[in-house]
């Protein structure tokens, strides 16, 4: 989670302070390896019990994991391809489109945003 690290924790709610180390690159990397480890463990777990599947293909060890990984990547890449086709500037449907309007009109807290009072 690559972004400007923010070490300052004052002014944050106590719960947030608890979580505040989260976006340090070191911790992010640790988290990644933890996830990898859990995944490998889950894959190996398939050898430890008798699987009850509906289809023959389910019998293959760790098939769900592999399928999940591949399907996820496929979704992302297909979506990236799709974006090439369908992406348009935000003012495409102008005038009278909500995409470029001030979103605070939907009823934001006027103090918190420092914005004008809206409906």
């Amino acid at each position: 989670m690559t972004n400007h690290p923010n070490g300052k924790t004052e002014g944050m709610p106590p719960l947030a302070r608890l979580l505040s180390g989260f976006d340090k690159p070191r911790n992010v990397t640790r988290l990644f390896y933890l996830l990898l480890a859990v995944c490998i463990a889950l894959g190996l777990a398939d050898f430890l019990y008798h699987k009850h599947g509906y289809f023959a293909v389910e019998e293959f060890p760790a098939i769900y994991g592999l399928f999940g990984f591949v399907a996820y990547a496929a979704v992302i890449f297909l979506a990236k391809g799709l974006r090439l086709i369908i992406r348009r500037p935000e003012d495409y449907y102008e005038p009278f489109a909500i995409d470029t309007e001030d979103e605070r009109a939907a009823g934001s807290d006027p103090e918190a945003t420092g914005g004008k009072p809206h409906a």
């Binding site: 989670m1 690559t2 972004n3 400007h4 944050m12 709610p13 719960l15 947030a16 608890l18 979580l19 989260f22 976006d23 990644f32 996830l35 859990v38 995944c39 889950l42 894959g43 398939d46 019990y49 699987k51 009850h52 509906y54 289809f55 389910e58 769900y64 994991g65 399928f67 999940g68 591949v70 399907a71 996820y72 990547a73 979704v75 992302i76 979506a79 990236k80 799709l82 369908i86 992406r87 348009r88 935000e90 003012d91 495409y92 005038p95 009278f96 489109a97 909500i98 995409d99 001030d102 979103e103 009109a105 939907a106 009823g107 934001s108 807290d109 918190a112 945003t113 914005g115 409906a119």
Partner: protein, 564 residues
């Protein structure tokens, strides 16, 4: 509670009273009391049909209470309560009345025992809900609301046409299982389909939900589409066509959601995808599948509301719901973050969360009946759900790059609403029997088997791993402010463009023709005015003589007739 026919009545009466209640706090309390009172009207009632009477020789039943409508009535009441609690801060009576009428109409429609009552409430949901969009009070929202209203009322009109045809064919307006074999049932099917956001009929959903007010979207997400699912489950269970429609519905929104920047629109796509699961369940139509549909609708209303609430809370504090503008909010709104993650894990169907116990029913049903490819599509779609709702929403809102928003935690009532909803999501996930006990058919299903838990975790965590890998390698598509084309392009751009092209061609002829026609019309109106206007001969009343003349004429005419 006395029997009053339909709980919708409670909401309608309350909607009449609410605008006049002062002070505001009392009004909020009254609002919260309404769903409770509404629930009490059918809570302990034995199954049966209530509020029956004869409308021009047609049997009308306002409230049919059976296992199916009961579950939907229950969850709708719950959703109305949570939405109203979430909207505690709203002082806009338009929204409050609209929410009451909308929820009331939704309940009324679910309990409708006949098609006419269904139609009335069906249109009621359309008309009441559009005010939740218009309440944003911008021109864009107005235009969006109009498009939404056209689709929704169009659905109602088609439904009415279907009902009329159906009545002429069968002589009955009872709302029960139908077969797709006549224009009548096809029309009814299409009407349900529009409200259920079938592929190519779906755009109103992604168009309208991000346009509503923050609290309005939470309300919107609960009723309309689930009402349609209910109607399909009631009218067309086991219709095979629905399986393929549903499978398509689960798949295509996944890709759109992945590249969408507006998080509330992402959730709208995700809603569409979840509806797909339910539609597949209806299409399979076995008791297990129908149970799955109902259970999924129940859980879905809760976790989708939770997600909309958390994104709404963020929007309430920061003023935006665009992923490109958000990030790092866990530092400011940790509780909201936790609730959002609960919602995300529920919708992604992690074990111990509510999605897990309901979605598995549908997946098992599809596998049971041997629909391999459908089953496969559903599994892919489950990964997709994880992608856009499970990871994208919380990640881009609360983590990712810090967008620098330093805001207060969400207001207490929002936290309370989210907390209750989150607790329900987890509660249902941990104690599935709570939900299974009220499903329409007896449930013989154990969600927590080793196989199921392990495979599900594999699926989800490996997909999560893929996400991590893609992020670390920078392959994950960045969030960019943009508009993405969808089918609505056809009527928002293609149709107007085509029309203007055609208009250009026709213009010459048209001008020529219109000049003549308008001339005629003008002279016709002028003629009508000459005859009927205040000074026209037909509006003259003072001369007694002309009256006597008329008497003579009429008498003469009749006498001539008498003597012929």
């Amino acid at each position: 509670m006395p029997e009053i026919g339909t709980p919708a009545l409670v909401y309608m009466v309350a909607a009449l009273i609410v605008p006049f209640v002062r002070p505001a706090t009392l009004r909020q309390i009254l609002l919260l009391a309404v769903p409770v009172l509404g629930l009490l009207t059918f809570w302990q009632l034995p199954y049966g049909t209530y509020g029956t009477f004869n409308l021009m020789n047609m049997h009308v039943g306002l409230m049919r209470l059976d296992a199916l409508s009961y579950v939907f009535g229950l969850i709708f009441s719950l959703a109305a309560f949570l939405a109203l609690l979430y909207a505690w801060h709203v002082r806009d009576t338009v929204q409050q009345v609209a929410t009451l009428l909308y929820a009331g109409a939704g309940l009324g429609a679910v309990f409708a025992a006949d098609l006419v009552t269904l139609f009335v409430f069906w249109e009621g949901t359309a008309i009441a809900s559009v005010f939740l969009i218009w309440a944003r009070r911008t021109e864009g929202a107005y235009a969006t609301g109009m498009r939404y209203l056209i689709m929704q009322v169009g659905s109602g009109v088609i439904l009415l046409a279907g009902i009329v045809l159906f009545y002429r064919e069968t002589g009955s307006i009872a709302f029960s299982r139908m077969d797709l074999e006549s224009p009548a049932t096809w029309a009814i099917f299409l009407a349900f389909g529009i409200k259920c956001a079938f592929p190519l009929l779906h755009n109103w959903l992604q168009d309208a939900y991000p346009a509503a007010t923050i609290t309005g979207t939470v309300t919107l997400s609960a009723f309309t589409t689930k009402l349609a699912v209910y109607a399909l489950a009631r009218g067309f269970p086991g219709t095979e066509l629905l399986i393929y429609i549903g499978a398509t519905m689960t798949l295509f929104p996944v890709f759109f959601a992945a590249v969408e920047n507006n998080l509330r629109r992402v959730l709208a796509y995700s809603l569409n995808n979840q509806l797909g699961f339910m539609v597949v369940g209806v299409g399979i139509g076995t008791p297990l599948a129908l149970n799955g549909t109902v259970a999924h609708a129940f859980c879905h209303i809760l976790y989708k509301a939770l997600l909309f609430m958390s994104v709404g809370a963020v929007m309430y504090r920061t003023g935006t719901s665009k992923a490109s503008e958000l990030g790092g909010l866990y530092k400011s709104m940790p509780l909201t973050m936790i609730f959002c993650v609960v919602g995300a894990m529920s919708i992604s169907a992690f074990p111990l969360f509510s999605g897990f116990i309901s979605k598995s029913l549908i997946l098992s049903a599809s596998a049971d009946t041997g629909h391999f490819f459908v089953w496969l599509a559903l599994v892919v779609a489950s990964v997709g759900v994880l992608e856009h709702s499970g990871i994208k929403i919380p990640y881009f809102t609360f983590f990712a790059h810090d967008a620098g928003h330093r805001v207060k935690e969400a207001p207490f009532h929002m936290l309370l609403a989210m907390g209750i909803t989150a607790a329900l999501c987890i509660g249902l996930g941990v104690f599935p029997s709570l939900l299974y006990g009220i499903l329409p058919y007896a449930v013989d299903y154990t969600p927590y088997t080793v196989t199921h838990v392990v495979t599900q975790l594999q699926l989800l965590l490996f997909a999560g791993l893929a996400f991590a890998v893609l992020i670390r390698t920078g392959l994950y598509p960045a969030e960019i402010r943009s508009v993405n084309l969808d089918f609505d392009w056809t009527y928002r751009r293609l149709l107007p463009a085509a029309l203007s092209g055609v208009a250009y061609l026709v213009q010459g002829t048209w001008r020529f023709a219109s000049r003549i026609v308008m001339g005629r019309v003008d002279s016709l109106i002028a003629g009508v005015y000459r005859a009927h206007g205040p000074q026209g001969p037909l509006a003259r009343t003072w001369p007694t003589g002309s009256m006597v003349l008329w008497i003579a004429v009429l008498l003469g005419m009749t006498l001539v007739l008498a003597y012929i």
